[in-house]
């Protein structure tokens, strides 16, 4: 065995430092490529035409049955839910019992109220996935953002990370509370090439299911083909790096509860530089500085031992 002397130790730590620096550089390049990912090429999506929705709540019922969710508080043909508000006057949001909800918006100058269905938007680069430290989330090539409830530890970081406030929490389960959200019917439909239950159930054809790239083309054709009908913006085409669910509206998006200040950068872009340093700091620094410490105190330790010898 090679004797560990001062010279060998310094050589070794230098080599280690260079390796760590290279690794960090590589990690940075890899995550930069991740920022330009833009989604799987043939991933599916849903185009929502908000001008068509009449607020019948059939999609909510379809989701409840397809996902085997608990009985709702009120029947799905009870429209008094549109008058319900959470604290602060906010409209209804997704819960552990409802992965999708429809809300009503009164818009000045519009003859009828506007109805907007909310559910997971299935981001190309999901913030929930980025934030999850047990790796419970997966973005599938079909476009769905799914999660493994068996590994979820219920930390709720994804609920804070999600720019759309989508993941809900099973507060009703005191033993094993986990996060709950729309999975685009991945298990029962999407992976077999079928549209989500809400899309199929809609009587008004509000939602169009198809390849995301085709839907983007279709949406822009619709905007151009109907001058004055739609706001010239496809919500979800670029927001937070693009989402599988995209929206067309005849009312400015900020008036109907959409966050229009999210920017085009995926959430991961804001944290990747920092996150790349974390493994380096956690793994290399303790070993490196312990080494320096031992080295600097060795002489002293030797001196303390020598009188006995």
């Amino acid at each position: 065995m090679k004797k560990l002397n001062r010279r060998n130790f310094i050589k070794g730590s230098l080599a280690g430092g260079i390796a760590a620096a290279t690794a960090a550089g590589k990690a940075k390049n890899a995550s930069a490529a991740g920022g330009d990912f833009g989604g799987y090429p043939d991933s599916m999506g849903v185009l929502v035409d908000l001008t068509k929705c009449v607020g019948c709540r059939t999609c909510e019922a379809a989701c409840n049955k397809e996902q085997g969710l608990p009985e709702p508080d009120k029947p799905f043909d009870d429209y008094s839910v549109f008058d319900e508000h959470r604290h602060g006057g906010l409209p209804r949001r997704t819960t552990e019992k409802a992965y999708t909800v429809v809300n009503r918006y009164k818009v000045e100058g519009r003859e009828h109220p506007l109805f907007r269905k909310i559910q997971c938007n299935h981001c190309n680069e999901p913030a929930c996935l980025t934030s999850c430290f047990v790796n419970a989330y997966t973005k599938t090539p079909e476009g769905a953002v799914i999660y493994n409830p068996k590994v979820c530890v219920g930390c709720r970081t994804c609920m804070i990370a999600c720019p759309f406030y989508v993941p809900a929490y099973s507060y009703s389960s005191p033993i094993n509370p986990v996060v709950k959200k729309c999975i685009m019917c991945y298990d029962t439909r999407l992976k077999f090439g079928r549209p989500p239950a809400c899309v199929e159930s809609c009587p008004q054809g509000v939602m169009t299911f198809g390849k995301r790239k085709n839907l983007i083309a279709l949406a822009h054709e619709k905007i151009e083909g109907n001058p004055g009908k739609y706001v010239d913006h496809l919500y979800g085409e670029h927001e937070v790096g693009g989402t599988s669910w995209m929206y067309l509206s005849d009312v400015p998006f900020e008036e109907i509860g959409f966050d229009t200040h999210l920017g085009k950068e995926p959430i991961i872009s804001y944290v990747k530089d920092f996150l790349a340093i974390v493994p380096m700091v956690l793994c290399i620094w303790p070993a490196l500085f312990t080494g320096f410490h031992l080295l600097s105190t060795r002489k002293q330790a030797n001196q303390e031992e020598s009188p006995k010898a």
């Binding site: 799905f76 959470r86 209804r92 079928r194 809609c202 009587p203």
Partner: protein, 173 residues
Amino acid sequence: MGFKKEKRLGLAAFIAMAAPLVLPISAKGEVFELSSLANLYEGVSFDHDMHIEAVENNCSLCHHHTAGTPPEDQTCIPCHKNSPEAESPACSSCHLIEPFSSTNLSISEKNPLRHHKVKPGLKAAFHLNCMGCHQETGGPVGCQDCHAMTEKGEKFYNTGQYTPKAGNETAHH
């Protein structure tokens, strides 16, 4: 002999069941049942004659460019200004029951005709066509104004005999 009779009966039953799908083709002056999609709701008893009167014989208001009358929709006019009556002007001959099945998606993806590429499914076509007009003309717009909910529908919507019992509400929203 008995077998033959059964077979004949079966054929008659088949024709009777298929009739609502076939009849609309020559449906002037008739009331027929739109029931090919009946599931959560019963079929709609559709008075074709009354609707012909309501639109003053302008078939294109509903049938786009397939009824032989000049099309109203701006997107149809460039190609179908003088199109004759289609082989079948029934809604279901163009609007699919399952527009988003993978087979139908790949067919429509290859369709070179821009305005035929994406068309509403049959259920959406019915509702968009009917409701748009009904809202303007004061026709029925509530779900059960046109078709009664079936027992399966009550279960689906958790309503009627399946209404949730009070006291099950969760505090978190």
